[in-house]
Protein backbone atom coordinates (compact mmCIF):
# COMPACT_ATOMS: atom_id res chain seq x y z
CA UNK A 1 0.00 0.00 0.00
CA UNK A 2 2.61 2.52 1.06
CA UNK A 3 5.12 1.32 -1.51
CA UNK A 4 2.50 1.62 -4.23
CA UNK A 5 1.67 5.09 -2.99
CA UNK A 6 5.32 6.17 -3.07
CA UNK A 7 5.88 4.71 -6.55
CA UNK A 8 2.79 6.45 -7.90
CA UNK A 9 4.08 9.72 -6.48
CA UNK A 10 7.47 9.14 -8.12
CA UNK A 11 5.91 8.41 -11.48
CA UNK A 12 3.59 11.40 -11.23
CA UNK A 13 6.52 13.64 -10.36
CA UNK A 14 8.62 12.35 -13.24
CA UNK A 15 5.90 12.76 -15.84
CA UNK A 16 4.95 16.22 -14.54
CA UNK A 17 8.45 17.58 -15.03
CA UNK A 18 9.31 15.57 -18.10
CA UNK A 19 11.48 18.18 -19.78
CA UNK A 20 13.51 18.72 -16.61
CA UNK A 21 13.87 14.98 -16.13
CA UNK A 22 15.10 14.59 -19.71
CA UNK A 23 17.71 17.27 -19.11
CA UNK A 24 18.88 15.52 -15.94
CA UNK A 25 19.18 12.27 -17.86
CA UNK A 26 21.20 13.92 -20.62
CA UNK A 27 23.52 15.85 -18.34
CA UNK A 28 24.24 12.84 -16.13
CA UNK A 29 24.66 10.74 -19.26
CA UNK A 30 27.31 13.05 -20.67
CA UNK A 31 29.10 13.69 -17.39
CA UNK A 32 29.24 10.01 -16.51
CA UNK A 33 30.46 9.18 -20.01
CA UNK A 34 33.37 11.51 -19.35
CA UNK A 35 33.96 9.90 -15.97
CA UNK A 36 33.96 6.48 -17.62
CA UNK A 37 36.25 7.66 -20.42
CA UNK A 38 38.77 8.90 -17.87
CA UNK A 39 38.65 5.56 -16.08
CA UNK A 40 39.05 3.61 -19.32
CA UNK A 41 41.99 5.78 -20.40
CA UNK A 42 43.69 5.02 -17.09
CA UNK A 43 42.97 1.34 -17.60
CA UNK A 44 44.48 1.57 -21.07
CA UNK A 45 47.57 3.32 -19.74
CA UNK A 46 48.03 0.68 -17.05
CA UNK A 47 47.66 -2.14 -19.52
CA UNK A 48 50.18 -0.62 -21.88
CA UNK A 49 52.57 0.06 -19.02
CA UNK A 50 52.51 -3.46 -17.71
CA UNK A 51 52.79 -4.87 -21.22
CA UNK A 52 55.55 -2.65 -22.50
CA UNK A 53 57.64 -1.92 -19.47
CA UNK A 54 58.65 -5.55 -19.23
CA UNK A 55 59.47 -5.68 -22.88
CA UNK A 56 61.09 -2.30 -23.21
CA UNK A 57 64.79 -2.53 -23.96
CA UNK A 58 67.69 -0.16 -24.11
CA UNK A 59 69.14 0.02 -27.57
CA UNK A 60 72.80 0.91 -28.19
CA UNK A 61 72.91 1.88 -31.86
CA UNK A 62 76.32 1.62 -33.50
CA UNK A 63 77.52 3.94 -36.21
CA UNK A 64 76.77 3.27 -39.88
CA UNK A 65 78.51 4.69 -42.92
CA UNK A 66 75.74 7.25 -43.16
CA UNK A 67 75.30 8.35 -39.60
CA UNK A 68 76.42 11.79 -38.50
CA UNK A 69 75.30 11.73 -34.91
CA UNK A 70 77.56 11.04 -31.90
CA UNK A 71 81.17 10.45 -32.87
CA UNK A 72 80.26 8.58 -36.01
CA UNK A 73 81.48 10.96 -38.71
CA UNK A 74 80.00 8.73 -41.45
CA UNK A 75 82.13 5.74 -40.56
CA UNK A 76 80.68 2.43 -39.51
CA UNK A 77 81.71 1.17 -36.10
CA UNK A 78 84.80 -0.99 -36.22
CA UNK A 79 85.07 -4.51 -34.80
CA UNK A 80 87.32 -3.16 -32.02
CA UNK A 81 84.77 -0.62 -31.00
CA UNK A 82 82.10 -3.31 -30.76
CA UNK A 83 84.38 -5.42 -28.60
CA UNK A 84 84.86 -2.48 -26.25
CA UNK A 85 81.11 -2.13 -25.89
CA UNK A 86 80.73 -5.83 -25.23
CA UNK A 87 83.48 -5.70 -22.58
CA UNK A 88 81.75 -2.79 -20.90
CA UNK A 89 78.52 -4.71 -20.79
CA UNK A 90 80.23 -7.67 -19.19
CA UNK A 91 82.22 -5.56 -16.71
CA UNK A 92 81.49 -5.82 -12.99
CA UNK A 93 80.11 -2.27 -12.93
CA UNK A 94 77.32 -2.90 -15.43
CA UNK A 95 76.74 -6.66 -15.41
CA UNK A 96 74.72 -6.76 -12.16
CA UNK A 97 72.10 -4.42 -13.67
CA UNK A 98 71.77 -6.26 -16.92
CA UNK A 99 69.41 -9.15 -17.22
CA UNK A 100 70.58 -10.14 -20.69
CA UNK A 101 71.75 -8.53 -23.91
CA UNK A 102 72.27 -9.57 -27.50
CA UNK A 103 73.86 -8.17 -30.59
CA UNK A 104 71.79 -7.60 -33.73
CA UNK A 105 73.77 -7.28 -36.97
CA UNK A 106 72.62 -5.50 -40.12
CA UNK A 107 71.06 -8.52 -41.79
CA UNK A 108 69.02 -9.38 -38.70
CA UNK A 109 67.96 -5.78 -38.38
CA UNK A 110 66.91 -5.75 -42.02
CA UNK A 111 64.96 -8.96 -41.61
CA UNK A 112 63.14 -7.52 -38.59
CA UNK A 113 62.50 -4.33 -40.44
CA UNK A 114 61.01 -6.14 -43.41
CA UNK A 115 58.80 -8.14 -41.13
CA UNK A 116 57.62 -5.12 -39.16
CA UNK A 117 56.84 -2.98 -42.20
CA UNK A 118 55.83 -5.82 -44.50
CA UNK A 119 52.93 -3.92 -46.00
CA UNK A 120 54.72 -0.63 -46.34
CA UNK A 121 56.50 0.81 -49.36
CA UNK A 122 59.30 1.98 -47.10
CA UNK A 123 60.79 -1.53 -47.25
CA UNK A 124 61.90 -0.94 -50.81
CA UNK A 125 63.84 2.14 -49.81
CA UNK A 126 65.83 0.46 -47.08
CA UNK A 127 68.87 -1.70 -47.53
CA UNK A 128 70.87 -3.50 -44.79
CA UNK A 129 73.64 -0.89 -44.99
CA UNK A 130 71.30 1.83 -43.84
CA UNK A 131 70.37 0.04 -40.64
CA UNK A 132 72.61 0.22 -37.58
CA UNK A 133 74.07 -2.69 -35.72
CA UNK A 134 72.54 -2.71 -32.29
CA UNK A 135 73.16 -4.04 -28.78
CA UNK A 136 69.74 -4.80 -27.28
CA UNK A 137 69.83 -4.73 -23.49
CA UNK A 138 67.21 -5.97 -21.07
CA UNK A 139 67.74 -4.43 -17.66
CA UNK A 140 67.03 -6.11 -14.35
CA UNK A 141 65.16 -2.95 -13.36
CA UNK A 142 63.83 -1.12 -16.44
CA UNK A 143 63.94 2.17 -14.51
CA UNK A 144 67.76 2.21 -14.47
CA UNK A 145 68.38 2.89 -18.15
CA UNK A 146 70.29 6.00 -17.09
CA UNK A 147 73.24 3.76 -16.09
CA UNK A 148 73.64 2.35 -19.59
CA UNK A 149 73.19 5.77 -21.05
CA UNK A 150 75.99 7.23 -18.92
CA UNK A 151 78.33 4.30 -19.43
CA UNK A 152 78.01 3.85 -23.19
CA UNK A 153 76.89 7.03 -24.93
CA UNK A 154 79.78 9.03 -26.25
CA UNK A 155 82.03 6.01 -26.68
CA UNK A 156 83.66 5.73 -30.10
CA UNK A 157 81.45 3.93 -32.59
CA UNK A 158 78.26 4.51 -30.65
CA UNK A 159 75.68 6.56 -32.47
CA UNK A 160 73.13 6.78 -29.68
CA UNK A 161 71.70 5.03 -26.62
CA UNK A 162 67.92 4.96 -26.51
CA UNK A 163 65.57 3.72 -23.83
CA UNK A 164 62.45 2.50 -25.60
CA UNK A 165 60.45 3.61 -22.61
CA UNK A 166 61.02 7.21 -23.59
CA UNK A 167 58.81 6.60 -26.62
CA UNK A 168 56.15 5.15 -24.34
CA UNK A 169 56.40 8.04 -21.89
CA UNK A 170 55.31 10.39 -24.64
CA UNK A 171 52.31 8.25 -25.43
CA UNK A 172 51.43 8.03 -21.76
CA UNK A 173 51.77 11.77 -21.37
CA UNK A 174 49.23 12.25 -24.16
CA UNK A 175 46.87 9.64 -22.70
CA UNK A 176 47.23 11.11 -19.23
CA UNK A 177 46.44 14.58 -20.51
CA UNK A 178 43.37 13.13 -22.22
CA UNK A 179 42.21 11.44 -19.07
CA UNK A 180 42.82 14.59 -17.01
CA UNK A 181 40.76 16.58 -19.49
CA UNK A 182 37.97 14.04 -19.27
CA UNK A 183 38.04 14.22 -15.47
CA UNK A 184 37.87 18.03 -15.50
CA UNK A 185 34.96 18.08 -17.93
CA UNK A 186 33.27 15.34 -15.91
CA UNK A 187 33.69 17.32 -12.66
CA UNK A 188 32.12 20.44 -14.19
CA UNK A 189 29.31 18.45 -15.74
CA UNK A 190 28.64 16.65 -12.47
CA UNK A 191 28.30 19.98 -10.68
CA UNK A 192 25.82 21.04 -13.37
CA UNK A 193 23.98 17.74 -12.98
CA UNK A 194 23.76 18.15 -9.20
CA UNK A 195 22.37 21.67 -9.50
CA UNK A 196 19.94 20.57 -12.17
CA UNK A 197 18.69 17.74 -9.98
CA UNK A 198 18.27 20.12 -7.05
CA UNK A 199 16.30 22.57 -9.19
CA UNK A 200 14.12 19.86 -10.65
CA UNK A 201 13.27 18.47 -7.23
CA UNK A 202 12.43 21.98 -6.06
CA UNK A 203 10.10 22.42 -9.01
CA UNK A 204 8.57 19.04 -8.39
CA UNK A 205 8.01 19.92 -4.74
CA UNK A 206 6.51 23.25 -5.73
CA UNK A 207 4.06 21.62 -8.11
CA UNK A 208 3.01 19.36 -5.24
CA UNK A 209 2.98 22.06 -2.56
CA UNK A 210 -0.67 21.44 -1.67
CA UNK A 211 -0.06 17.77 -1.06
CA UNK A 212 3.12 18.56 0.86
CA UNK A 213 1.33 21.05 3.09
CA UNK A 214 -1.37 18.51 3.89
CA UNK A 215 1.12 15.71 4.47
CA UNK A 216 3.02 17.84 6.95
CA UNK A 217 -0.19 18.93 8.61
CA UNK A 218 -1.59 15.46 9.13
CA UNK A 219 1.71 14.11 10.40
CA UNK A 220 3.26 12.14 7.56
CA UNK A 221 6.81 11.32 8.60
CA UNK A 222 9.60 13.33 7.04
CA UNK A 223 11.07 10.25 5.46
CA UNK A 224 7.74 9.40 3.86
CA UNK A 225 7.46 12.91 2.43
CA UNK A 226 11.03 12.99 1.16
CA UNK A 227 11.33 9.50 -0.29
CA UNK A 228 9.37 10.08 -3.54
CA UNK A 229 11.49 13.12 -4.35
CA UNK A 230 14.78 11.39 -3.67
CA UNK A 231 13.60 8.42 -5.75
CA UNK A 232 12.70 10.79 -8.55
CA UNK A 233 16.28 12.05 -8.62
CA UNK A 234 17.60 8.50 -8.44
CA UNK A 235 15.49 7.28 -11.36
CA UNK A 236 16.59 10.16 -13.58
CA UNK A 237 20.27 9.79 -12.66
CA UNK A 238 20.15 6.00 -13.05
CA UNK A 239 18.76 6.44 -16.57
CA UNK A 240 21.69 8.75 -17.32
CA UNK A 241 24.14 6.23 -15.85
CA UNK A 242 22.57 3.47 -17.94
CA UNK A 243 23.01 5.49 -21.12
CA UNK A 244 26.60 6.32 -20.17
CA UNK A 245 27.37 2.64 -19.56
CA UNK A 246 25.88 1.77 -22.92
CA UNK A 247 27.90 4.50 -24.64
CA UNK A 248 31.18 3.36 -23.06
CA UNK A 249 30.50 -0.24 -23.96
CA UNK A 250 29.80 0.89 -27.51
CA UNK A 251 32.99 2.98 -27.67
CA UNK A 252 35.15 0.08 -26.52
CA UNK A 253 33.35 -2.40 -28.73
CA UNK A 254 33.17 -0.40 -31.94
CA UNK A 255 36.04 2.06 -31.74
CA UNK A 256 38.70 0.37 -29.62
CA UNK A 257 38.14 -3.29 -30.44
CA UNK A 258 36.64 -2.81 -33.87
CA UNK A 259 38.98 -0.14 -35.19
CA UNK A 260 42.04 0.58 -33.03
CA UNK A 261 42.87 -3.04 -32.34
CA UNK A 262 42.95 -3.73 -36.08
CA UNK A 263 44.81 -0.57 -36.93
CA UNK A 264 47.50 -1.05 -34.26
CA UNK A 265 47.89 -4.81 -33.87
CA UNK A 266 51.11 -4.53 -31.86
CA UNK A 267 49.37 -2.68 -29.01
CA UNK A 268 47.27 -4.17 -26.24
CA UNK A 269 43.88 -2.56 -25.82
CA UNK A 270 41.18 -2.56 -23.16
CA UNK A 271 38.40 -5.09 -23.55
CA UNK A 272 34.64 -4.65 -23.26
CA UNK A 273 35.01 -6.30 -19.85
CA UNK A 274 36.90 -3.16 -18.75
CA UNK A 275 33.90 -1.10 -19.84
CA UNK A 276 31.61 -3.41 -17.89
CA UNK A 277 33.80 -2.98 -14.82
CA UNK A 278 33.26 0.80 -14.85
CA UNK A 279 29.46 0.46 -14.84
CA UNK A 280 28.97 -0.06 -11.09
CA UNK A 281 31.08 3.02 -10.48
CA UNK A 282 29.06 5.08 -12.96
CA UNK A 283 25.79 4.02 -11.35
CA UNK A 284 27.17 4.63 -7.86
CA UNK A 285 28.39 8.10 -8.85
CA UNK A 286 25.15 9.05 -10.59
CA UNK A 287 22.87 7.70 -7.89
CA UNK A 288 25.00 9.02 -5.05
CA UNK A 289 24.95 12.46 -6.62
CA UNK A 290 21.17 12.29 -7.11
CA UNK A 291 20.54 11.19 -3.54
CA UNK A 292 22.63 14.00 -2.06
CA UNK A 293 21.32 16.72 -4.40
CA UNK A 294 17.66 15.78 -4.15
CA UNK A 295 17.77 15.14 -0.40
CA UNK A 296 19.32 18.53 0.30
CA UNK A 297 16.90 20.20 -2.09
CA UNK A 298 13.72 18.68 -0.65
CA UNK A 299 14.87 19.15 2.94
CA UNK A 300 15.55 22.81 2.32
CA UNK A 301 12.22 23.20 0.57
CA UNK A 302 10.35 21.63 3.47
CA UNK A 303 12.15 23.78 6.01
CA UNK A 304 11.50 27.01 4.15
Amino acid sequence: MRLGFVLREVFAGLSRNLSMVVSIVLVTFISLTFVGTAILLQAQINQMKSYWFDRAQVAVYMCTDFSTLGDCDQQAASADQKVVIEQRLQSTTLAPYIDRYYFEDRDQAFANFQEQFADSAVVDLVSPELLPETFWINLVDPQQSELIFEALSGLPGVESVVDQRSYLDQIFAVLNAGSLTAVSVAALMLVAAALLIATTIRLSAFSRRRELAIMRLVGASNRFIQTPFVLEGIVAAALGAGLASLALWGIVRVFVQGYLADALPATVFIQTSDALATMPLLFATGIGLAVIASYISITRYLRA
Binding site: M1, R2, I214, G219, A220, S221, F224, I225
Partner: protein, 276 residues
Protein backbone atom coordinates in the same frame (compact mmCIF):
# COMPACT_ATOMS: atom_id res chain seq x y z
CA UNK B 1 -5.15 18.86 27.43
CA UNK B 2 -3.78 22.22 26.23
CA UNK B 3 -1.84 24.32 28.69
CA UNK B 4 -0.16 27.65 27.95
CA UNK B 5 2.02 29.03 30.72
CA UNK B 6 3.20 32.62 30.32
CA UNK B 7 3.66 32.08 26.60
CA UNK B 8 5.04 34.90 24.48
CA UNK B 9 5.76 34.84 20.80
CA UNK B 10 7.94 37.41 19.09
CA UNK B 11 8.38 37.38 15.34
CA UNK B 12 11.64 38.58 13.98
CA UNK B 13 11.41 42.15 12.78
CA UNK B 14 8.04 42.76 14.42
CA UNK B 15 8.04 45.55 17.03
CA UNK B 16 5.35 43.99 19.21
CA UNK B 17 4.96 40.40 20.33
CA UNK B 18 2.21 38.42 18.57
CA UNK B 19 1.38 36.82 21.90
CA UNK B 20 2.29 38.40 25.19
CA UNK B 21 2.40 36.39 28.39
CA UNK B 22 -0.57 34.18 27.61
CA UNK B 23 -1.69 31.58 30.12
CA UNK B 24 -4.59 29.35 29.16
CA UNK B 25 -5.81 25.95 30.20
CA UNK B 26 -8.19 24.07 27.91
CA UNK B 27 -9.61 20.81 29.19
CA UNK B 28 -10.36 17.69 27.19
CA UNK B 29 -13.69 17.77 25.37
CA UNK B 30 -14.12 21.54 25.50
CA UNK B 31 -15.42 23.64 22.62
CA UNK B 32 -13.55 26.92 22.61
CA UNK B 33 -14.02 30.00 20.44
CA UNK B 34 -10.98 32.12 19.88
CA UNK B 35 -12.05 35.65 19.01
CA UNK B 36 -10.25 38.88 18.37
CA UNK B 37 -9.45 41.34 15.62
CA UNK B 38 -7.29 40.33 12.69
CA UNK B 39 -3.67 40.30 13.77
CA UNK B 40 -4.57 39.92 17.42
CA UNK B 41 -2.64 36.67 17.72
CA UNK B 42 -5.30 34.00 17.12
CA UNK B 43 -3.41 32.31 14.33
CA UNK B 44 -0.16 32.41 16.29
CA UNK B 45 -2.01 30.70 19.12
CA UNK B 46 -3.13 27.89 16.79
CA UNK B 47 0.27 27.58 15.15
CA UNK B 48 1.91 27.24 18.54
CA UNK B 49 -0.40 24.37 19.45
CA UNK B 50 0.50 22.68 16.15
CA UNK B 51 4.18 23.18 16.87
CA UNK B 52 4.54 25.06 13.62
CA UNK B 53 6.14 27.80 15.70
CA UNK B 54 8.20 27.78 18.86
CA UNK B 55 7.27 30.12 21.69
CA UNK B 56 9.77 32.86 22.45
CA UNK B 57 9.08 32.37 26.16
CA UNK B 58 6.89 30.21 28.34
CA UNK B 59 5.78 26.61 28.23
CA UNK B 60 3.18 24.85 26.13
CA UNK B 61 1.84 21.44 27.01
CA UNK B 62 -0.42 19.66 24.54
CA UNK B 63 -1.85 16.20 25.21
CA UNK B 64 0.48 15.81 28.16
CA UNK B 65 3.58 16.58 26.17
CA UNK B 66 5.91 19.50 26.66
CA UNK B 67 6.17 20.86 23.13
CA UNK B 68 9.70 22.10 23.71
CA UNK B 69 10.78 18.56 24.38
CA UNK B 70 9.39 16.99 21.23
CA UNK B 71 12.32 16.48 18.85
CA UNK B 72 11.59 17.67 15.33
CA UNK B 73 11.56 14.15 13.95
CA UNK B 74 8.77 13.26 16.40
CA UNK B 75 6.64 16.25 15.39
CA UNK B 76 4.84 14.33 12.61
CA UNK B 77 3.77 11.69 15.13
CA UNK B 78 2.52 14.42 17.47
CA UNK B 79 0.49 16.04 14.68
CA UNK B 80 -1.40 12.83 14.01
CA UNK B 81 -3.42 13.50 17.14
CA UNK B 82 -4.44 16.93 15.84
CA UNK B 83 -6.84 17.84 13.05
CA UNK B 84 -6.76 21.21 11.31
CA UNK B 85 -9.38 23.02 9.23
CA UNK B 86 -8.79 26.24 7.32
CA UNK B 87 -10.90 29.04 5.97
CA UNK B 88 -9.89 28.16 2.38
CA UNK B 89 -10.55 24.38 2.73
CA UNK B 90 -7.22 23.36 1.12
CA UNK B 91 -8.56 20.31 -0.68
CA UNK B 92 -6.63 18.56 -3.44
CA UNK B 93 -8.49 19.51 -6.64
CA UNK B 94 -7.53 16.43 -8.65
CA UNK B 95 -8.72 13.96 -6.00
CA UNK B 96 -12.26 12.87 -5.25
CA UNK B 97 -13.92 13.53 -1.91
CA UNK B 98 -13.12 9.99 -0.85
CA UNK B 99 -9.48 10.28 -1.91
CA UNK B 100 -9.06 13.65 -0.27
CA UNK B 101 -10.12 12.18 3.04
CA UNK B 102 -8.28 8.90 2.47
CA UNK B 103 -5.09 10.82 1.60
CA UNK B 104 -4.62 11.71 5.25
CA UNK B 105 -4.73 8.08 6.23
CA UNK B 106 -2.60 6.88 3.33
CA UNK B 107 0.28 9.21 4.06
CA UNK B 108 0.45 8.10 7.67
CA UNK B 109 0.52 4.49 6.55
CA UNK B 110 -2.93 3.18 7.45
CA UNK B 111 -4.01 -0.05 5.80
CA UNK B 112 -6.42 -0.13 2.87
CA UNK B 113 -8.86 -2.03 5.02
CA UNK B 114 -8.84 0.65 7.69
CA UNK B 115 -9.25 3.38 5.07
CA UNK B 116 -12.27 1.69 3.52
CA UNK B 117 -13.96 1.56 6.90
CA UNK B 118 -13.00 4.92 8.34
CA UNK B 119 -13.56 7.14 5.31
CA UNK B 120 -17.22 6.26 4.55
CA UNK B 121 -17.82 6.49 8.27
CA UNK B 122 -16.58 10.04 8.62
CA UNK B 123 -18.25 11.08 5.34
CA UNK B 124 -21.50 9.86 6.89
CA UNK B 125 -20.80 11.96 9.97
CA UNK B 126 -20.31 15.15 7.94
CA UNK B 127 -23.26 14.29 5.69
CA UNK B 128 -21.40 13.69 2.44
CA UNK B 129 -21.84 9.94 2.05
CA UNK B 130 -23.51 10.50 -1.32
CA UNK B 131 -20.72 12.68 -2.69
CA UNK B 132 -17.74 10.41 -2.11
CA UNK B 133 -16.99 10.15 -5.83
CA UNK B 134 -17.36 13.84 -6.61
CA UNK B 135 -14.46 16.21 -7.12
CA UNK B 136 -14.08 19.34 -4.98
CA UNK B 137 -15.02 21.70 -7.84
CA UNK B 138 -18.36 19.92 -8.11
CA UNK B 139 -19.21 20.78 -4.50
CA UNK B 140 -20.53 23.92 -2.85
CA UNK B 141 -18.33 25.84 -0.44
CA UNK B 142 -20.09 24.36 2.56
CA UNK B 143 -19.67 20.86 1.20
CA UNK B 144 -16.01 21.48 0.52
CA UNK B 145 -15.50 22.65 4.07
CA UNK B 146 -17.21 19.53 5.30
CA UNK B 147 -14.77 17.45 3.27
CA UNK B 148 -11.98 19.38 4.95
CA UNK B 149 -13.50 18.67 8.35
CA UNK B 150 -13.87 15.00 7.47
CA UNK B 151 -10.23 14.96 6.48
CA UNK B 152 -9.20 16.55 9.77
CA UNK B 153 -11.42 14.24 11.81
CA UNK B 154 -11.00 10.91 10.04
CA UNK B 155 -8.05 9.90 12.19
CA UNK B 156 -10.08 10.60 15.35
CA UNK B 157 -7.81 13.38 16.59
CA UNK B 158 -7.93 14.40 20.24
CA UNK B 159 -7.87 18.06 19.25
CA UNK B 160 -9.34 19.85 16.27
CA UNK B 161 -8.11 23.32 15.36
CA UNK B 162 -10.32 25.35 13.05
CA UNK B 163 -9.04 28.66 11.70
CA UNK B 164 -12.12 30.65 10.64
CA UNK B 165 -13.80 27.62 9.07
CA UNK B 166 -16.93 29.62 8.25
CA UNK B 167 -15.10 32.68 6.99
CA UNK B 168 -15.93 32.00 3.35
CA UNK B 169 -19.45 30.69 3.86
CA UNK B 170 -22.91 32.17 4.03
CA UNK B 171 -24.72 32.09 7.39
CA UNK B 172 -27.00 29.13 6.66
CA UNK B 173 -24.09 27.04 5.39
CA UNK B 174 -22.04 28.13 8.40
CA UNK B 175 -24.75 26.74 10.63
CA UNK B 176 -24.38 23.35 8.98
CA UNK B 177 -20.63 23.49 9.49
CA UNK B 178 -21.09 24.37 13.17
CA UNK B 179 -23.40 21.44 13.44
CA UNK B 180 -20.73 19.13 12.15
CA UNK B 181 -18.11 20.60 14.45
CA UNK B 182 -20.44 20.28 17.41
CA UNK B 183 -21.01 16.67 16.56
CA UNK B 184 -17.30 16.01 16.36
CA UNK B 185 -16.90 17.80 19.70
CA UNK B 186 -19.67 15.66 21.16
CA UNK B 187 -17.75 12.55 20.20
CA UNK B 188 -14.96 13.67 22.53
CA UNK B 189 -12.69 15.80 20.37
CA UNK B 190 -11.58 19.11 21.83
CA UNK B 191 -12.40 21.84 19.31
CA UNK B 192 -10.68 25.20 19.18
CA UNK B 193 -12.14 27.52 16.61
CA UNK B 194 -10.81 30.94 15.69
CA UNK B 195 -13.59 33.06 14.25
CA UNK B 196 -14.93 36.51 13.46
CA UNK B 197 -18.47 35.23 13.19
CA UNK B 198 -20.28 36.97 16.05
CA UNK B 199 -23.57 35.27 15.29
CA UNK B 200 -22.16 31.81 15.72
CA UNK B 201 -20.34 32.67 18.93
CA UNK B 202 -23.36 34.36 20.48
CA UNK B 203 -25.57 31.50 19.49
CA UNK B 204 -23.43 28.61 20.61
CA UNK B 205 -22.76 29.91 24.13
CA UNK B 206 -19.51 28.08 24.57
CA UNK B 207 -16.25 29.09 26.15
CA UNK B 208 -14.87 32.24 24.53
CA UNK B 209 -11.26 33.35 24.72
CA UNK B 210 -10.71 36.83 23.37
CA UNK B 211 -7.26 37.94 22.35
CA UNK B 212 -6.35 41.56 21.71
CA UNK B 213 -2.88 42.81 21.00
CA UNK B 214 -1.38 39.46 21.90
CA UNK B 215 -3.01 39.29 25.35
CA UNK B 216 -5.95 37.32 26.59
CA UNK B 217 -8.47 40.02 27.50
CA UNK B 218 -11.40 37.74 28.23
CA UNK B 219 -11.89 34.09 29.04
CA UNK B 220 -15.52 33.38 29.57
CA UNK B 221 -17.51 30.19 29.80
CA UNK B 222 -20.77 30.33 27.87
CA UNK B 223 -19.72 33.66 26.47
CA UNK B 224 -20.69 35.66 23.45
CA UNK B 225 -18.80 37.53 20.77
CA UNK B 226 -17.86 40.99 21.80
CA UNK B 227 -14.86 42.82 20.61
CA UNK B 228 -13.26 44.60 23.48
CA UNK B 229 -13.02 48.33 23.00
CA UNK B 230 -11.34 48.81 26.34
CA UNK B 231 -7.78 50.13 26.11
CA UNK B 232 -5.16 47.53 26.91
CA UNK B 233 -3.68 49.49 29.78
CA UNK B 234 -6.70 48.82 31.89
CA UNK B 235 -6.57 45.14 31.15
CA UNK B 236 -3.28 44.24 32.72
CA UNK B 237 -5.10 42.16 35.22
CA UNK B 238 -6.91 40.28 32.49
CA UNK B 239 -8.83 38.08 32.05
CA UNK B 240 -11.73 40.28 32.99
CA UNK B 241 -15.16 38.83 32.35
CA UNK B 242 -17.24 41.23 30.35
CA UNK B 243 -20.98 41.14 30.61
CA UNK B 244 -22.32 40.25 27.23
CA UNK B 245 -25.21 41.78 25.40
CA UNK B 246 -28.29 40.94 27.41
CA UNK B 247 -30.37 40.54 24.24
CA UNK B 248 -28.14 37.80 23.01
CA UNK B 249 -28.32 36.00 26.30
CA UNK B 250 -32.06 36.35 26.68
CA UNK B 251 -33.00 33.47 24.47
CA UNK B 252 -30.07 31.20 23.75
CA UNK B 253 -31.01 29.15 20.76
CA UNK B 254 -30.76 25.43 21.22
CA UNK B 255 -28.28 23.96 18.84
CA UNK B 256 -29.31 20.47 17.85
CA UNK B 257 -26.21 18.39 18.29
CA UNK B 258 -27.28 14.82 18.50
CA UNK B 259 -29.64 12.63 16.56
CA UNK B 260 -29.36 14.37 13.24
CA UNK B 261 -28.39 12.26 10.30
CA UNK B 262 -27.78 14.90 7.68
CA UNK B 263 -26.90 18.46 8.57
CA UNK B 264 -28.19 19.61 5.21
CA UNK B 265 -31.72 18.70 6.11
CA UNK B 266 -31.64 20.72 9.28
CA UNK B 267 -33.14 24.15 9.06
CA UNK B 268 -30.77 26.81 10.19
CA UNK B 269 -31.12 27.19 13.94
CA UNK B 270 -29.76 30.70 13.72
CA UNK B 271 -32.10 33.56 12.84
CA UNK B 272 -29.30 35.22 10.87
CA UNK B 273 -31.44 37.59 8.90
CA UNK B 274 -32.78 39.20 12.04
CA UNK B 275 -29.35 39.97 13.37
CA UNK B 276 -28.01 43.31 12.28
Amino acid sequence: MILFEDVSKMYRGAPKPALNNVSINIAAGEFVFLVGASGSGKSSFLRLILKEERPSAGEIHVLGQDLRRIPSRKVPLFRRSLGVVFQDFRLLPQKTVFDNVAYTLRVIGKSAGFIHEAVPDILQTVGLAQKAKNYPHELSGGEQQRVAIARAAVNKPAIMLADEPTGNLDPATSAGIMNVLSRINASGTTVIMATHDSGIVDQMQRRVIEIAGGRVVRDEHEGGYQTSAIPLGELDTAPIPIITDSDALAEPAQLPVKGISDPDTVASPFPWELRA
